[in-house]
């Protein structure tokens, strides 16, 4: 029984949609109870295809120029959504086609309560009102296993975490038991453990309701856990589609192969680097960076009528060494203190503890940030951007500096004519290369890379990682590589430190930590990482809350005992 049948779909934008076409003839079928994964990188047309199905694309300036989208209605009739009038479409949206979006934080109206937004679907499509809406909304929240639903109904989106909000989104969408659910990168903005929860929830609800699902993602690893069928998209075309097993195990198109093989996938410590300092039996050099008992606490200020609420313990007694030519990966979920650690090392956050960096450079520690679009001043040409660190250090931008600039530009594979161009003329990957070159201008010994490849598409990500490895070997750089992405960390880090709630819970050689995690948090983190090898795994829903890192003034964390579980592999002792 075909629920949705899309054939020869063409979508364009702007005044002349036929000319500026971005989806060029996509076709697929979806049966009830079935999940189709749309996989592709940014600009592949996967979201545009999905938004065309419920015709939301009309509101984003797009238009379906050719093709048919046949939806089987509740009453068994078929309707071509391409020609359907807007009034009909708004009756279908929400009631028969539900949609979940990528950013739960921005996808809910900030000035309306969660209850009002969930209730809206019941008002619109079931004609409920008053108390009936509230109780229906409460049931919807219970269905997505949100604890304490009555209190949640009266809350506003900003009072909830991203994971909770995504559950709220799911609750509001499932309110009307849609026959088709479109999930557009629903977990991309979430931490891996939360991602696993949301995936589990979606799979469970799909099985329960028998709805069809279109699951859009850039992460082919995520597909294995949920999809029955896969369609790989590139440049507005479907390059390959088929059953899950066929596509993942026997890919035909080179692009699918590329996505499956040349892009980092998590391999449980089997894909780690083995070129670290001292790996060849030579003597280990002196550390380039030594961090001892680094602690960052933010005081929640007292106000006229409220005494101080204590301190946020953002980073608590973090200690590590970093050798020249070595990468230490710092992994953890959002709010774990990864970025604060980086900022403290650069002196950008108030901290206590000892940080000593050695190196011949003027400023031995440099940093590359996550967002290459926001971390380059749009008014400066590349030449000025690269001159900036030199000038900021109080030096003249002389012939030597100029020579280094040309050398670095060449080393990061940017064309020589880049110097007079501005950041907006470059792609995300190229911009990140500019940021890397800028960080190397002062010949640092340590580079802090804070989620430096996280904003990039997977294949660009792989190339930037290769570049980083090359530069590390050439300049004997020490990297502090901060990331939430286990697969990326596995590829680049010699050693890994796992942080949770501001503290390191486990640290050691990547191979050891990733293949044989000892701390319960590391285990949970690793278990949640999606993997192409794991088909249709079942996750148990966990509704426990993370304890707060806000402690009363004067509070000191208890003494920590470390267990040496392997050579150089330390894990915190856990009190049961």
């Amino acid at each position: 029984m075909t629920l949705l049948s899309v054939s020869d779909l063409h979508v364009g934008f702007g005044r002349d949609p036929e000319k500026s076409e971005v989806v060029h003839g996509v076709s697929f079928d979806l049966a009830a109870g079935e999940t189709l994964a749309l996989v592709g990188e940014s600009g592949s047309g996967k979201s545009v295809t999905a938004l065309s199905v419920n015709r939301l694309i009309d509101f984003g300036g797009g238009r379906v120029t050719r093709g048919t989208i046949l939806l089987e209605r509740q009453d068994g009739s078929q309707l071509d959504l391409v020609g359907a009038p807007e009034a009909e479409l708004s009756r279908i949206r929400g009631a028969e086609i539900g949609m979940i979006f990528q950013e739960p934080m921005s996808s809910l109206n900030p000035v309306k309560t969660v209850g009002a937004q969930i209730g809206e679907a019941f008002r619109l499509h079931h004609g409920l009102s008053g108390r009936a809406v509230t109780s229906a909304a409460r049931e919807a929240l219970e269905r997505v296993r949100i604890p304490d639903p009555v209190r949640r109904l009266g809350q506003f989106p900003h009072e909830m975490s991203g994971g909770m909000l995504q559950r709220v989104m799911i609750a509001s969408v499932l309110a009307c038991n849609p026959r088709l659910l479109i999930a557009d990168e629903p977990t991309t903005a979430l931490d891996v453990t939360i991602q696993a929860q949301i995936m589990a929830l979606l799979a469970e609800l799909r099985d329960e309701t028998g709805m069809g699902m279109i699951f859009i993602t850039h992460d082919i690893g995520l597909v294995a856990g949920i999809a029955d069928k896969v369609m790989v998209m590139r440049d507005g075309r479907s390059v390959e589609q088929g059953a899950l097993g066929a596509v993942l195990d026997d890919p035909q198109h080179p692009y699918t192969k590329h996505l499956l093989h040349s892009v980092p996938h998590f391999a449980h410590g089997k894909a780690v680097r083995c070129d670290g300092p001292g790996a060849d039996g030579s003597e280990r050099p002196a550390p380039a960076l030594k961090v001892d008992d680094l602690t960052v606490r933010f005081n929640i200020k007292r106000t006229l009528f409220r005494p101080s609420q204590g301190n946020i313990h953002a980073v608590e007694r973090v200690s590590f060494d970093l050798l020249p030519g070595e990468t230490l990966g710092i992994v953890g979920e959002s709010g774990s203190g990864k970025s604060t650690t980086a900022r403290a090392i650069l002196g950008l956050a108030p901290s206590s503890g000892r940080i000593s960096a050695t190196g011949q450079g003027l400023r031995p520690v440099q940093m590359v940030f996550q967002n290459p679009y926001a971390s380059l001043n749009p008014r400066l040409a590349v030449e000025d951007l690269l001159a900036e660190p030199v000038l900021a250090a109080g030096h003249r931008f002389d012939a030597d500096a100029r020579e280094r600039m040309h050398m670095l530009l060449d080393r990061v594979d940017l064309p020589a004519d880049s110097l007079t161009r501005y950041p907006h003329e470059f792609s995300g990957g190229q911009r990140q290369r500019i940021c890397i070159a800028r960080a190397l201008m002062l010949n640092p010994s340590v580079v802090v890379l804070d989620e430096a490849v996280s904003a990039l598409d997977v294949s660009v990500q792989a190339r930037v990682l290769d570049l980083l490895v090359d530069l590390q070997r050439e300049f004997q750089l020490a990297y502090l590589f901060i990331s939430h992405d286990m697969a990326v960390v596995e590829r680049i880090a010699h050693r890994v430190a796992v942080v949770c709630r501001g503290e390191i819970v486990e640290m050691g050689p990547s191979a050891a930590v990733l293949s044989d995690p000892r701390h319960s948090y590391t285990r949970r983190l690793i278990a949640a990482v999606p993997n192409i090898a794991r088909r249709r795994v079942h996750f148990d829903l966990d509704t426990s809350q993370v304890p707060s890192i806000l402690h009363p003034a004067g509070w000191e964390p208890p003494e920590v005992r470390w267990l040496e579980v392997g050579p150089g592999h330390l894990a915190r002792e856990e009190v049961a």
């Binding site: 419920n54 939301l56 509101f59 984003g60 807007e86 009034a87 708004s90 009756r91 279908i92 949206r93 929400g94 009631a95 539900g98 949609m99 979006f101 950013e103 921005s106 996808s107 809910l108 109206n109 900030p110 000035v111 309306k112 809206e120 679907a121 619109l124 499509h125 506003f156 900003h158 009072e159 989104m169 509001s172 969408v173 106000t303 006229l304 009528f305 409220r306």
Partner: protein
């Protein structure tokens, strides 16, 4: 709550700053109060008589002493005596204020009733002909001086309909609401036109921003019809800049609208303060400026409270 008290605590400080500024500023204007008060007759006075008059009004003492004296009286609720009216300053101000307040409120009501729907309409029809017409209209409304509007309105009414706006003595609202409204509606329209234009422009751009937000798309995906998307989901989010602009404009109007008051012969604060400056009526100028500054702060506070009411995120931070 906390914010409210902190804001109220700042009031005296701001007023002190404003008062000292105006105190000095008005005394830097050449000419003296006695001459201004008595006009040509001042020439008939002997220097001794002038000095006596100055001593009577306390104008012979150093500025600092005058200021201190004035400040101490102020603390006892005494703004001094207006030399031109021969009455307590506060009484003179309060006599004029109802008209100014009413005019400001009426103008704002007109501006919001016209501006918000016009802005929303322009935003939802962005880049179409109706949007262009509204934008040009708003541009004209904002760039035309108010006396031009006022003159056009008066001309059209008198030449076209033979009606003249009721001028002369002002009828308070409570005495005869209809006559009062008849007197104020035209000046309110005059002031409201430019105000409405400002509101239209800001409402349009705020709505355009909000309409491209993710949560608007979410609402559409839920099947909310266009009307509900615009008025229930988008507009409440677009109101904050509208409130900001309206608050500022309203605050200015509370200081009186000199030109429009003059044009329609209305005894408002604007004309009074202008006369007071020309007459070197120090006490009245100081008192009025203080009063206007106080009003401005109250309006600002109301604007901030409106934000809190509109946006729960601000509530959390408060």
């Amino acid at each position: 709550m906390n914010t409210l008290i902190r804001r109220l605590a700042a009031f005296p400080l701001v007023l002190l700053g404003v008062s000292s500024l105006v105190f000095v500023a008005i005394r830097l204007v050449p000419g003296d109060a006695i001459t201004a008060m008595l006009g040509t007759q001042a020439g008939l006075l002997t220097p001794a008589q002038k000095a006596a008059l100055a001593a009577y009004f306390g104008l012979d003492r150093p500025w600092i002493a005058q200021y201190w004296h004035w400040l101490r009286a102020l603390l006892h609720g005494d703004l001094g005596i207006s030399v031109t009216y021969g009455k307590p300053v506060l009484e003179v101000i309060l006599q004029r204020f109802p008209l100014t307040l009413e005019l400001a409120l009426l103008s704002m009501a007109i501006a919001l009733v016209i501006g918000v729907p016009a802005g929303v309409y322009a935003a939802t029809h962005a880049e179409r002909r109706s949007d262009l017409v509204l934008r040009i209209g708003a541009m004209i409304g904002q760039s035309t001086p108010s006396f031009v509007f006022g003159l056009v309105i008066i001309y059209v009414l008198s030449a076209g309909f033979g009606v003249l706006p009721a001028m002369g003595t002002f009828t308070p609202l409570l005495k005869d609401p209809l006559a009062n409204l008849g007197q104020l509606i035209l000046p309110a329209l005059t002031l409201g036109a430019a105000f409405a234009a400002a509101v239209t422009r800001i409402a349009r751009s705020a709505m355009l921003d909000v309409l491209s937000e993710d949560y608007v798309r979410t609402a559409r995906s839920r099947g909310v019809p266009a009307r509900g998307v615009i008025w229930r989901h988008a507009l409440p989010n677009a109101l904050i800049p509208v409130v900001t602009v309206s608050g500022i404009e309203f605050g200015y109007l509370l200081g009186g609208a000199v030109i429009v008051e003059q044009l329609f012969a209305l005894p408002g604060l604007g004309r009074m303060v202008l006369d007071a400056i020309l007459q070197r009526d120090y006490a009245l100028v100081q008192g009025t400026v203080l009063f206007i500054a106080f009003n401005f702060m109250v309006v600002n506070l109301l604007v901030d409270l409106t934000y809190v009411w509109l946006d729960p995120r601000i509530r959390a931070r408060g």
